[in-house]
Symmetry: C2
Subunit: 397 residues, 2 copies
Amino acid sequence: MTDISRRCADMQASPIRKLVPLANAAKARGTSVYHLNIGQPDIPTPPGYWNALKDSLPNVLAYGPSQGLPVLREAISSYYSRSGITIDTDEIIITTGGSEAVYFAFMTTCDHGDEVICFEPFYTNYNGFATMAGVKLVPVTSRCENGFHLPEALEIESRITDRTRAILICSPNNPTGTVLSPEELQTLSSIVQKHNLYLLSDEVYRDFVFDGGTHLSTLQLPEIEDRVIVMDSISKRFSSCGARLGNMISRNKNIMDAALKLGQARLCPPTLAQYGAARIYHNLDANYYSDVMTTYQNRRDVLIEELSGVDGVFFLKPEGAFYATIQLPVKDADRFASWMLTDFQLEGETTMVAPAAGFYATPGLGLDQIRIAFVLSEEKMRKALEILKEGLKVYRD
Amino acid sequence: MTDISRRCADMQASPIRKLVPLANAAKARGTSVYHLNIGQPDIPTPPGYWNALKDSLPNVLAYGPSQGLPVLREAISSYYSRSGITIDTDEIIITTGGSEAVYFAFMTTCDHGDEVICFEPFYTNYNGFATMAGVKLVPVTSRCENGFHLPEALEIESRITDRTRAILICSPNNPTGTVLSPEELQTLSSIVQKHNLYLLSDEVYRDFVFDGGTHLSTLQLPEIEDRVIVMDSISKRFSSCGARLGNMISRNKNIMDAALKLGQARLCPPTLAQYGAARIYHNLDANYYSDVMTTYQNRRDVLIEELSGVDGVFFLKPEGAFYATIQLPVKDADRFASWMLTDFQLEGETTMVAPAAGFYATPGLGLDQIRIAFVLSEEKMRKALEILKEGLKVYRD
């Protein structure tokens, strides 16, 4: 048999999904599983989506424009204007999920073999797109004891080489829940100017900032407006992961022209879903954004109530998104997470979490950490975390 | 301003879409345009699609499995069994359009810098995916006077180097309408065995074979079953281009495992569209496939009636798909196609075609050729072609 490509052979399998067979086996034994392992929101998709689908059934389900339907690009432009951010529709390209926006950002800024600096732990799927784009992700470690905020500028700059093309950030952060401060963004702005780099900014959780904070977008840094590429998505904003709609935003015209060429190769993003998304933007309940943010904040508070003070458990309060990366009193969180599925249950129920080591690029880091997604109701969160605590009491390395 | 990547700067803009601004300007002047330039079918999408959307609106539009929904993979397996082809659901991965299937085929078989042999003229978007995957497309020329059938085996083999990983074919062909014979597939089978290559086979037009012929799939070549990767799509089969649903099929387990890793990185294909597609497969009118094939065949016949015998116009009868690549009595078909939009009209109407040079990789080839997509009704086809003939009479190089 002929070999497959080395790049696919070397590619990491998803650490978020790799314990799924164990969860399925637990379910087959009759054990219920609370899924805190995956960022799949339980919040209902706003009804505008379904109404638009019912109203806009065409005779022929045709290709749309490669840059996305004007109606959706205009809706996104309006959405940003709510935050005082002026974005022209020409500065927006609709992508097939935020995933494709990440890929386009790598492809438009980097050639094969170029480097992008990112802060570990980071969203694991960046690895997949980096592999596809032939880009080397160069990790700088952020630390749990520091709430996963940025390390010093000098530490970041020490990793810059002549192949470095960009710095990649995600704020509010998956997998840590950290929100970068205006001062941290200023630091990054200085670095990208000094070293002539792009700033790739994953802002898909921008609506979920807790405790009265607001999100400062990298689009609000005028001094680097031609260096910023924002990756956005409706997956989490509107609980519409299955729509596969995201967008890439940049005020750099050359970058947008390049993204459009990539977009033309894959023809267009899904047509009907774009009508659905546009309708959501235009017909939201007045309090939708604050209601959803509050829902996640209350769940975050349950997490803190349940896990604070537990012996050997450490994390700082997540500031946004719906994730926390948590240090556990175990040697190997991967083994612990597996054991919760294979050997533990409490009254017929158990809890599934994501081992955090897969979110680090540096081998050996995060071995005692897990990522929790607070995507279940407060009641279920409480139950799932009680089970987790019971598991920790019983488990022996 | 920081440079964009060289690979994006060098990437070809779509030759199919590049004359669109001229067409828009013609429309703005009040001239109607017959679009024979793009493969957007006018046939209604089967109602099962819309019924499934109405019936399967979930509360949360969630991620689906990375390999696609079981219900759709089973439907595709059943579809192939109609042709006597046994495909296990594990040998199918649902992709975001046939486009992603092409990309996955390049990525799973090739490393950066590897080569794939293809036959020019070829579907221009292969270029885009080759650029993304860092794959070099090595063209072997097929000729109009030969009905764009394959050149001799020796000519093909002469282009094989130590970087060659695969041969890419498309049958029925876009942009030529050519259907490869069983003998031609045997030739390719021998070559890929002899040189240890993969055979990447774009079969998205497999339902449209004219004049009583049937399509022989590369999945029906048992001696190379672990070398074959088929790229398929519902875009043309069910006039569902905007659904963005395709699939990749292979009996090579390593290839499918690699494709799943790529699939996990982009999470999943669009969820709702998959329910729609599955419903179409299960609730088609008994004669759907033959009715659609006959529709295109009749339009092909209009093309032959209208253009055969026109002075200086040459093409052999297209055997399938809904395209013809046609030699015109002009020096520069790009200029002629532009002129039809900027300077010509007949009773307020004109015809848009795609210059064929963009479908060739070798500079200087196909300059006097155009691609016509027969995606309009017979009446409109006849009118559009009459206008084209009038244009040819008036046009001077």
